[in-house]
């Protein structure tokens, strides 16, 4: 495109933005709110994902052994389980070891165990998993194989917890796209309406440009660029809004519970997610304006 055309289009865009400044600002604001909701879900998703990842590193599967299994048989089982691909480490805990660990966990309250037999608790194989095998399905598969081993009485793993986490993640994902999608549609229509308004406000100018022989692209380009600018401005505003809200929330709400959750454990949007948000703003603004130009600038 010749530089003269670039200057010409830039002049038209600047003129229209100046003329309908409040309408454009309002649209960029609505776009920012929409993208903020979507970005908020992205932040929640990223942080819940991190928390879950942290917790899942502590996921263990316990195979409780039958009473008759002696130390040698237990060791043979331990060696066998240790050879499974999903197992990072496995340790044998004898009845006495289990009793000591339980007693220790009670701390100063351990006195309540006085008088009880020290072989009350079953011996067990405590299995730690490799990170690639911490999904619900992988854990359940391992549990089934452990249950089938001769000498295993029962297998315990955090099935309910894993299921809840899976549901929570699916819920966040679903809400992100359902609510985000609805708001995107609203933003898309609002950008379209703003551009329609700009077209109507400049109807005389459009007619004159057509009469003096302006090419179609030269007439339409300023309106499409206006939509693009609205989208990008909305995305920039959304990022600012999200950053401010994130700082406020982590400082004011999370900090008082500092002993439970460390502020630095929460993360803002990473670079790819920021780019995604800006790209969505750009796409919404451009698509909304193009649709309007197509409909109202025949």
């Amino acid at each position: 495109m010749r530089s003269a055309y670039v200057l010409f289009v830039a002049g038209r865009v600047a003129g229209s933005l100046r003329e309908l400044i409040w309408t454009h600002l309002l649209t960029a604001g609505i776009m920012a709110m929409t993208l903020s909701v979507f970005g908020g879900f992205l932040i929640i998703q990223a942080n819940v994902g991190r928390l879950v990842k942290g917790w899942s590193e502590e996921v263990q599967v316990f195979a409780y052994l039958k009473d008759g299994v002696d130390a040698a048989a237990a060791e043979a089982m331990r060696a066998r389980v240790a050879s499974y691909p999903e197992v990072r480490a496995v340790s044998y805990v004898s009845k006495e070891g289990a009793w000591d660990a339980f007693k220790q966990s009670l701390g100063s309250q351990s006195g309540i165990l006085e008088g009880l037999k020290t072989d009350t608790l079953p011996a067990s194989l405590d299995v730690e998993l490799r990170s690639a095998y911490r999904s619900r399905d992988a854990v359940m598969s391992l549990a089934r194989r452990l249950t089938a081993l001769d000498g295993v009485q029962d297998v315990e793993y955090p099935e309910t917890w894993l299921e809840k986490v899976r549901l929570l993640m699916a819920g966040i994902e679903w809400l992100k796209w359902a609510l985000g999608g609805f708001l995107f549609l609203v933003a898309f229509l609002i950008v379209g309406s703003t551009i329609k308004l700009a077209i109507v406000a400049r109807q005389d100018e459009i007619e004159i440009m057509q009469l003096v022989g302006a090419a179609d692209g030269l007439i339409k380009a300023p309106f499409v660029i206006e939509g693009m600018i609205q989208g990008l401005a909305g995305a920039a505003l959304a990022l600012g809004l999200l950053r401010a809200s994130f700082s406020l929330l982590t400082a004011e709400l999370v900090a008082p519970f500092g002993s439970l959750v460390a502020v630095e454990e929460f993360v803002f949007l990473d670079a790819p997610r920021c780019v995604l948000l800006v790209a969505m703003g750009w796409l919404l603004g451009t698509a909304g304006s193009m649709l309007s130009v197509k409909r109202f600038l025949a």
């Binding site: 530089s3 055309y5 003129g15 003329e19 005389d204 009469l211 003096v212």
Partner: protein, 228 residues
């Protein structure tokens, strides 16, 4: 050269704008399109700058059939014309200079060149001191001169004017017609649609008389002016 062959324009359901118009305009001619309101002058001009398509017939301008032009070809054709309207068709939000330069800008000339040409034309038409003024602050005559400057900024070979004096008082109307005569003397083909017969006494050229959408006769200006 402009050639019209049996050109008709019928609006649904059955209103006839112009019917079976055939005539030819040589390069460098000055032509008046005359007739009362509703005679079809504006429709004929709109067909010539392709704001409308004929329902029948062919229009050839400078050897090119413009009847079915569209898109880029139509825009390029319009850039080769100079158009002047009764209501001036100026953008009220931008200065006289920018209104004139707009027509140059769309051809892709540099920003500086467009303004230079626009300013030179405004100065030639006596608006040197008004170049920065917005159209609503100009008189009718001044606005029409700005519109004429815009029509001339790309050095067109053909200027089409639709009732260019319709909104002007007699003195300004006379002055505007003298301007068209001057443009014609520089070699430009000029077609002026008007219902005002006064000009036919003072300007040389041919006159196409129109009545009820049909061509009622072609005369020179002297004969047309003396006709009853």
């Amino acid at each position: 050269m402009i050639q019209l062959h049996k050109v008709s324009r019928v609006y649904p359901p059955d209103y006839t704008g112009v019917k079976e118009i055939t005539f030819q305009v040589e390069d460098g001619e000055f032509l008046f399109l005359c007739g009362p309101s509703g005679a079809g002058k504006t429709t004929l001009l709109r067909l010539l700058f392709r704001a409308e398509q004929p329902t029948e017939g062919q229009i050839v301008v400078s050897g090119r059939n413009i009847t079915r032009l569209k898109g880029q070809a139509l825009a390029a054709f319009r850039r080769s014309l100079g158009l002047v309207f009764q209501d001036f068709k100026l953008i009220p939000r931008i200065s006289a200079l920018e209104n004139v330069a707009l027509a140059a800008d769309v051809t892709g000339v540099s920003w500086r060149e467009g303004r230079r040409k626009a300013f030179r034309l405004l100065a030639e038409l006596g608006l040197k001191d008004k170049y920065a003024v917005l159209p609503p602050a100009l008189s009718g005559g001044e606005q029409q001169r700005v519109a004429i400057a815009r029509a001339l900024v790309n050095d067109p070979e053909l200027v089409l004017a639709d009732e260019p004096t319709g909104n002007l008082d007699p003195e300004l109307a006379e002055e505007t017609m003298r301007l068209f005569a001057r443009i014609h003397r520089q070699g430009t083909t000029v077609l002026v649609a008007t219902h005002d017969h006064r000009f036919l006494r003072s300007f040389d050229g041919r006159v196409l008389m129109m009545r009820q959408g049909r061509l009622a006769g072609i005369h020179d200006t002297v004969r047309a002016a003396s006709a009853p």
